[in-house]
């Protein structure tokens, strides 16, 4: 974490755009919403961090070899393409894109998951893919205006 979330909020308000969008902090949020329910000023921090992540992807300024944004993009791509996520392939994709060595280190876990039937290798997909595709096509991707009002960054 290069900045604390509080520092991120302050940087946003002070217009340090690059510092914010390139920070690792926004990607380190695991979306547990602990801050959102406890913030005494009722700032929806998790949602703001989402908005910042989207912005970082849009502007292509996220940390390139940092696995988190890569995972997010691969996840979204798979959901768009198949309508469902097949975890084994997602993990495989992630590791090939970011860190071969991590893949090698994790082979034991992978095998164990296959053995216990938790890593399914048959890709999952929905039947009416065209339906989903039509819906997503009708939604301007990366709409410039974020749907969550407090998430405003300029």
């Amino acid at each position: 974490m290069d900045y604390t979330p509080r520092q991120i909020m302050a940087l946003v308000r002070a217009d340090f755009k690059n510092e914010v969008l390139q920070s690792r902090t926004i990607w380190l949020c695991a979306s547990c919403y602990a801050c959102t329910v406890d913030c005494p000023r009722e700032i929806r921090i998790t949602d703001i961090l989402y908005a910042l992540k989207q912005r970082a992807i849009q502007e292509g300024v996220y940390p390139r070899h940092f696995p988190i944004p890569v995972l997010a993009r691969e996840f979204a791509a798979m959901a768009r393409r198949h309508g469902r996520i097949t975890e084994a392939y997602l993990v495989l994709k992630l590791f090939t894109r970011t860190n071969w060595r991590a893949l090698l280190r994790s082979w034991r876990i992978g095998l164990a998951l296959i053995r216990t039937g938790r890593f399914r290798l048959r890709p999952e997909r929905i039947q009416r893919l065209d339906e989903l595709k039509a819906m997503l096509a009708a939604t301007a991707s990366h709409s410039s205006q974020s749907s969550f009002p407090p998430a405003k960054v300029t």
Partner: protein, 671 residues
């Protein structure tokens, strides 16, 4: 009661002689309205003898101008076009009176708030001012000479709430020779201050400065002290309130009891068993008890929810045997009293935020999380531990953390700052360190120490080694990550000055719980017919210029019931409230705007449709004549009956039909 002058038959009027004045208000009006043009225009209207514009009409020369003109030109009606009548109607009315003219021959035109401040286009604004001026000129012709209504004021006062605010106000009034009834809900007066140990910033002992005042209340011949009592109804109006007070039974004859506590010792409960309210639940009392050693009055009280005899009827009643003054009265009944007073001072104080609403701070879950009020009792030498700061298991804490703004400055609970907790937490830090030798850390968002000697007190704490960590605490937990944390409470907080999250193991946590309005504030507000803010603090008439008066004449505010404040501010406000009440009572009467309604007896047919409409019950039916009449002293001039009268026989002074119609005509008749 009705002054005959206001009912004088309308004399045949000669053509009125109107003087018209338009004020520049510096540049406030003149920048947007062409004042000279307005004067020129007014002068051209029928009945206007002269019209002038002037830079500041409210100034002494401005008023003098009016007076001179009245004398010189025999003016008998005056119109002033300036600011809101709220601001200067009384100023100009007084000028008329000084020139020998009845003050009600004045009409004002508000061309500042209604014109220059809300419009930009000079031409349009001037045109609007012209229309308004014309309306006023047409209206003022129909004005009549009126006399303000005088209402006598009773010289007795009721003070509600016996905290330091109520005590101080009651004593001042009593000293000034007024009779005072002090009504307190608890069995003793003293309020929160009685529970405090020392007080910031001078660290003088609360009991030492409060007890003498409490005894003075008890002893003062002008004060009637009703503890364990509540106000259940208030009727009437300024100067003449009728207040109904309910006195709860304490099952003790107050006149006989001397507070010797023989009965308490004799009670069949050998030890205290029930949480002691005065010690914030840190000790236990019996069903029969004296609230605290300095309780005033020194009269015991029996808790009906705990007393075996009152609950089950089965008890040896050893207390009765023990009392050689026969003061115990088990069949005592509640009493209801009606008292008449001229003024009421409300001093019902505050309640404390319930920290279980923020479970992340662990209050109620971890035994060694306390509130600041509990900490006050712990450091107090007559408290449950005789002044020794102890954890619940009796150990001495080596390290103590005080968390500020618990239930304050938090949009999920209360957005306001409770104002005293920064200061009293620093006070407690010094006292806890003195009593337990513990290291004390204060967790704050910022330290608010505005007040005389307050910042210096903060400096003293810094100098004396109290630790300050800037950051709002995330949680208090017993989750230990290291051996050092084992057996401690851990405070997790982002140290915003250091810039990272810290875990700080401590033995004892004190939560600086904020102030909130009394739970029954809304109910009381309705009984008293005063206003309160959304949150429940009673509302003053003006935050700067009327901080202790309410929107209801004759009712004043003192202390924390109006908003969080410390003792110095509370006492200052109590003094101010007493002075306001005294000013009213000493004058003996008040003058009211004669905007009352009256009934033309020749037209009233006695249909009674107006009777239930009057919110002040000012209309009565004269059965013998079959006609309604209005008690001018009760009428507030709301106009409800005037509008409703089917025969049109109700009129209202200052708002006569012909006046209002003339005004409407004036606005609508385009020149």
């Amino acid at each position: 009661m009705t002054p005959p002058q206001n009912h004088a038959p309308k004399a045949h009027r000669a053509e009125p002689r109107i003087g018209f004045y338009v004020c520049h208000c510096g540049s406030n009006i003149a920048d947007t309205v062409d004042c000279a043009e307005i004067a020129r225009y007014a002068a051209s209207l029928p009945g206007v003898i002269l019209a002038r514009d002037y830079k500041y009409m409210c100034s002494d020369p401005g008023q003098e101008l009016i007076q001179q003109d009245i004398r010189e030109y025999q003016l008998d009606r005056i119109v002033v076009a300036s600011c809101s009548p709220l601001l200067h109607e009384h100023t100009f009315r007084a000028a008329l009176a000084r020139a020998g003219l009845n003050p009600f021959y004045l009409q004002m035109v508000n061309i500042r708030e209604h014109v220059s401040w809300v419009h930009k286009n000079r031409e349009a604004a001037t045109a609007k001012a012209r229309d308004l001026a014309r309306a006023a000129i047409q209206r003022v012709r129909h004005h009549q000479a009126l006399q303000p209504i005088r209402v006598p004021i009773r010289a007795e006062a009721l003070v509600l709430g016996g905290g330091i605010a109520g005590i101080h106000a009651a004593l001042l009034l009593a000293e000034a020779g007024k009779r005072v009834i002090l009504v307190e809900r608890q069995p003793s007066i003293g309020g929160h201050m009685a529970q405090l140990d020392k007080t910031f910033p001078t660290l003088d002992c609360a009991a030492c400065i409060l007890t003498p005042k409490m005894s003075a209340v008890r002893a003062h011949p002008n004060i009637t002290l009703w503890t364990y009592s509540e106000v259940i109804k208030v009727e009437g109006y300024v100067g003449n309130f009728t207040v109904t007070v309910r006195r709860k039974p304490r099952y003790i004859n107050e006149a006989l009891c001397v507070g010797c506590k023989q009965c308490v010792d004799a009670c069949v409960f050998k030890d205290g068993k029930f949480p002691d309210e005065f010690n914030a639940g840190l000790s236990h009392r019996k069903p029969i008890y004296l609230p605290f050693p300095q309780a005033t009055p020194q009269v015991v009280v029996i808790d009906p929810d705990r007393c075996l005899n009152l609950k089950t009827g089965k008890c040896k009643k050893t207390c009765v045997e023990a009392c050689d003054r026969n003061a115990i009265v088990f069949d005592q009944q509640p009493e209801v009293h009606e008292v008449k007073v001229g003024t009421i001072i409300v001093a019902t104080g505050y309640d404390l935020f319930d920290p279980t609403r923020l479970p992340q701070y662990g209050y109620g879950r971890y035994p060694n999380v306390f509130t600041t009020l509990e900490a006050e009792r712990l450091v107090n030498s007559s408290g449950p531990t005789a002044g020794k700061v102890r954890l619940r298991d009796g150990r001495v804490p080596r390290s103590v953390g005080i968390i500020l703004c618990v239930g304050s400055r938090d949009h999920r609970t209360h957005p306001w700052c409770s104002r005293t907790c920064c200061m009293h937490s620093m006070k407690l830090a010094l006292l806890i360190r003195e009593h337990a030798g513990a290291e004390v850390t204060i967790f704050h968002m910022d330290i608010r120490s505005a007040g005389k000697g307050y910042e210096e007190f903060y400096d003293r704490c810094l100098r004396e080694g109290i630790q300050f960590i800037r950051g709002r605490v995330a949680e208090v937990t017993d989750w230990a990550m290291t051996a050092k944390e084992e057996g401690h409470l851990v405070v997790r907080v982002e140290d915003t000055l250091a810039g990272f999250v810290r875990r700080i193991p401590l033995d004892m946590i004190v939560l600086a719980v904020g102030m909130e309005p009394q739970r029954d504030a809304r109910e009381l507000r309705r009984i008293l017919n005063i206003s309160c803010s959304n949150e429940g603090w009673f509302l003053e008439r003006h935050p700067k210029l009327g901080p202790v008066i309410t929107f209801t004449d004759g009712i004043f505010l003192a202390g924390c019931c109006q908003g969080p404040k410390d003792i110095p501010d509370t006492v200052a406000q109590a003094g101010a409230a007493a002075a306001e009440a005294l000013a009213l009572m000493d004058r003996g009467y008040i003058e009211q705007e004669p905007n009352t309604a009256y009934i033309d007896p020749d037209h009233c047919c006695g249909c009674k449709s107006c009777l239930p409409l009057c919110p002040y019950s000012a209309i009565q039916l004269d059965e013998t004549q079959g006609r309604a009449f209005i008690n001018e002293a009760l009428c507030k001039g709301c106009g409800a009956c005037v509008a409703a009268c089917p025969s049109g026989s109700i009129q209202q002074h200052l708002f006569e039909d012909e006046q209002v119609f003339a005004e409407i005509d004036g606005v609508l008749s385009y020149a």
